[in-house]
């Protein structure tokens, strides 16, 4: 299968679409077969990694910091070149999440974030991201969600409400209630609808986009654009991998030394950001030059910066 290899960033109409809607895509990065092989390799690395970032099997965050296949993925020039079109030259990868949705799993409730609150539900939470400057580019924060399995409607594809990045519909600083009763509002076991600023606003009545993707495709979006996912009514697990990016002007985990989620406490001693493009002109964040198993991020960034449009 011929796979698009554009590394020259977003086209003008794609940038305008993003500004208006808060998301853009999908883009093809791997063929479906390549995506399956890459995810299989990532799974093997997750288990056999000699230097795991942490021992949590529940909060399996940031495996791009030790799994070479994921270290390579987050800095793919096909991804980074598009991020540059929206964020400018200087970009850090600060987090990655794995989002399996097993057959029969519910959809993820609508949510909207910008600072990614850290900390235990019920306690005072702190922002994972602290914005120190207004960006001269379109945005200082983006998420890339890559499908490593088919992610069509029946598998539980992502959904977006276009244009909702322009206004706050949820107050992410409010604590969330645990053990949600309504599956419509299920946000990983919490009820995100409790955070609505206007409790009468009904996201389900809004026009939404169902971002159906093939394995190997990715979408770029602002976490501030209200988004969620459909339930998985198929017999196949849907596997999504989110990599999150910020400008170096954003402080990551400032004053936050641990995460407490899903009953686990995770020290952030392992944590660092990855410079995937340009320079860090601020020095706010710890940057790693290699992953925990020696994969060279600097060399990858230098290779990426020299890539040109192919085909």
């Amino acid at each position: 299968m011929q796979v698009e290899q554009r590394t020259d960033g977003l086209a003008e109409h794609e940038i305008e679409f993003f500004k208006e809607n808060g998301f853009v895509g999908p883009f093809t990065l791997y063929s479906p077969e390549q995506a399956v092989r890459r995810w299989n390799q990532a799974k093997i690395e997750m288990v056999t990694s000699k230097n795991k970032p942490h021992n949590s099997t529940i909060i399996n965050y940031d495996r791009h910091l030790d799994c070479n296949s994921l270290s390579e993925h987050i800095a793919r020039p096909e991804i980074v070149s598009r991020l540059r079109s929206l964020m400018g030259e200087d970009i850090l990868c600060w987090k990655s999440n794995i989002f399996p949705k097993y057959p029969g799993d519910a959809g993820t409730g609508w949510h909207q974030v910008e600072t990614f609150r850290a900390g235990q539900v019920g306690d005072e939470t702190k922002p994972a991201l602290t914005y120190t400057a207004n960006s001269s580019h379109v945005t200082s924060e983006l998420t890339v969600w890559t499908a490593f399995s088919p992610a069509q409607r029946e598998h539980g594809c992502m959904t977006f409400i276009p244009g909702t990045h322009k206004k706050w519909y949820y107050d992410e600083t409010k604590p969330m209630k645990n053990k949600v009763e309504s599956k419509r509002n299920d946000f990983f076991g919490f009820d995100y609808s409790e955070l609505k600023i206007d409790q009468d606003w009904d996201p389900d009545s809004q026009d939404c986009v169902k971002m159906e993707m093939n394995a190997g495709q990715f979408v770029i979006f602002l976490a501030k654009c209200v988004h969620g996912s459909l339930p998985n009514v198929s017999s196949q697990t849907r596997m999504g991998f989110a990599s999150r990016y910020v400008s170096p002007s954003v402080k990551v985990y400032d004053g936050v030394d641990h995460l407490e989620e899903y009953g686990e406490r995770l020290s952030l001693d392992y944590f660092s950001c990855v410079l995937v493009s340009g320079e860090d002109r601020y020095g706010y964040n710890k940057i790693c030059k290699q992953n925990l198993n020696g994969y060279d991020f600097d060399a990858m960034r230098q290779r990426s910066s020299s890539w040109e449009r192919v085909g």
């Binding site: 092989r37 299989n40 390799q41 799974k43 093997i44 997750m46 288990v47 056999t48 099997t57 097993y102 697990t237």
Partner: protein, 97 residues
């Protein structure tokens, strides 16, 4: 495909014992394995199944670099895990000869 009772009871007992030695996996018993088809049916995730095979490689004196990515589809099923274990047994035997 369910494990055939006549051939695999011994293998399943060994598998039960081995699973129960892995502290990160939920405990199980022979009845549960005989009733199950997929590894997920007994609470073993895809990563858990990989971990199980890596542990078995180490038990047999082989390096985890011996893990064959082609095994992954097999690991969705308990029969598949048994097949992979037997292949590991053969490899380990070959290194001892």
């Amino acid at each position: 495909m369910r494990a055939a009772d006549s051939e695999n009871d011994f293998d399943l007992r060994r598998l039960v014992e081995f699973i129960n030695e892995q502290k990160y996996l939920p405990p199980t018993d022979l009845a549960a394995l005989k009733a199950a088809d997929r590894t997920n049916d007994v609470g073993i995730t895809s990563l858990g199944a990989i971990g199980l095979v890596v542990a078995y490689l180490k038990r047999c004196g082989l390096d985890d670099a011996s893990f064959n990515p082609d095994w992954l589809p097999d690991l969705e099923f308990l029969d598949g895990v048994l097949r992979v274990f037997k292949e590991i047994d053969r490899r380990a035997e070959a290194t001892r000869v």
